[in-house]
Assembly symmetry: C2
Amino acid sequence: MIERAHLRILREIERRGSLTAAAGALNLTQSALSHTMKKLEQGSGATLWTREGRLLRLTQAGEYLLREANRLLPQLERIDELLRQYAEGEKGTLNIGMECHPCYQWLLRVVEPFLAQWPGVEVDVKQRFQFGGMAALFNHEIDVLVTPDPIVREGIRFEPVFPYEQMLIVGDESPLRGLDHIEPQQLSDQVLYTYPVDTERLDIYQQFLLPAHCAPGKHKVLEATEIILQMVAANRGVATLPQWLVEEYARTLPIHSVRLGREGIHKQIHLGVRSQDAENLHVRTFIELAGSSSMP
Amino acid sequence: MIERAHLRILREIERRGSLTAAAGALNLTQSALSHTMKKLEQGSGATLWTREGRLLRLTQAGEYLLREANRLLPQLERIDELLRQYAEGEKGTLNIGMECHPCYQWLLRVVEPFLAQWPGVEVDVKQRFQFGGMAALFNHEIDVLVTPDPIVREGIRFEPVFPYEQMLIVGDESPLRGLDHIEPQQLSDQVLYTYPVDTERLDIYQQFLLPAHCAPGKHKVLEATEIILQMVAANRGVATLPQWLVEEYARTLPIHSVRLGREGIHKQIHLGVRSQDAENLHVRTFIELAGSSSMP
DNA sequence: TGAAGCTATGAAAATTATTCATGAGGTGTG
DNA sequence: CACACCTCATGAATAATTTTCATAGCTTCA
């Protein structure tokens, strides 16, 4: 019934004082305005104004509608503007999912310039997914997945960001300390600490132990990276960590890294996005910033 | 840019889950909705939803717009409804102007059933007018003028409501007390109290004293009816009052009424309204209630 | 009293919205 | 896995609405 046009006409009549002037401001003819408002009057039954000589006097209904116009039109105009901002990527939320537990510090270094570049955009980081990061990406729970294990799937596009080597870390008193590399068998009498994830997602199993049909002496899981490191530092067992993180923690903790196998386990962090979002401005910016971030 | 139709479509899509179902609910075809929304997307640049299999998934911009739709549509619908109420006379404000100082109590007896009959309508009473009641009526400051002195003018219609006789009131010890009537000369040595209005609007001057080229001994003005009455009761002077009010006050104050001249001064209270409002439902009701109110 | 300004209105023209017809997927079932 | 059945997008045709044009009626002002 009542349309944006009616509100605009009424507001402009108040501002300019006459139908003719309002018509000019709206790039329409006086006749168009007259017809439009007449139709509203017929539809609602209410008279909006009466003519007195050459001036229009708003009725009570007209005054009421004018108040509503002055209240609602700015809101509609704000919607137009925000829609444009969404279109330009100036507004929105980038939901980032993390499947790489130790990558958090690296992520913060990417998010910082991203936020600076897109002041209107929010960033949220999620680290727990009921059905895994890929499912979360499909669900639209997240828009970007940070993972060392890309899964090729229709509709998802992965971009490599930086390579790293996964290392074994041992304490000061470990017999493995100082070796050039270790073989799978050498873990048979060790306690292995990992994050509490499926062994299918643990490279030390998939790429090192299982191919050699080996297993660690014992496998214990812990949530927090810091606690795992404390355990290793206390010579209570061994763990794996990206090389770049070892360097960081080795400055403050008595831990040492050893290559896993003669060739080592070489990994790469990937960013996964839905193909349909790949051209999205936020997403592109984020991937570019991630790619150019100083390698950790 | 954004129109009510867009908001309606989006809300209906959310409610029904599909474009087709939404189209049914809006009595349109699926094609119409698709075209309409596509046009909005092209105009704003923002994508509102993406197809995933057979379901539509709102983008962030779409979610935003949906929130706005759920917020704004009820407001627009309320406007439609209120406009209809204005049309039906179920809503509005009746501004009543009083040029008859002592009529206030009578007015209250008319307003009461009026408010009961029109629960959505407000009543406001004004008693002071910078340029007089007629001007206020022309200005739309008031919608109804209660006055004993109708002025015939184009665009204003008057309806007589009830007749009354204007009486002189005197105190217990007044020499005029108990007379059948008085002549103008008999006021020459009296103090006359009136409301502070132009003598042109005082009947005792216009219809009694001036035709006989007389004047009161002294003329003092007071705002409040009660104070005037106190003065008369204290035998400090005389005043005029409608007969029906004398009866009321005489119960509690030592005052008495005397006819002004052999024939008395006979007046009639009128209601004035703008001709254009004469058919207005509120106004008609008010006039009818006033006419049928038990004579004071 | 005449010129100029403003609005309302009917008819014509222009624009916009809607439908129709169809195609391109996706879903589910036997 | 083929087939029926959905759903949505799209171009062209059609319907409806909006806008303009032309004009008349009033009012104001000099």
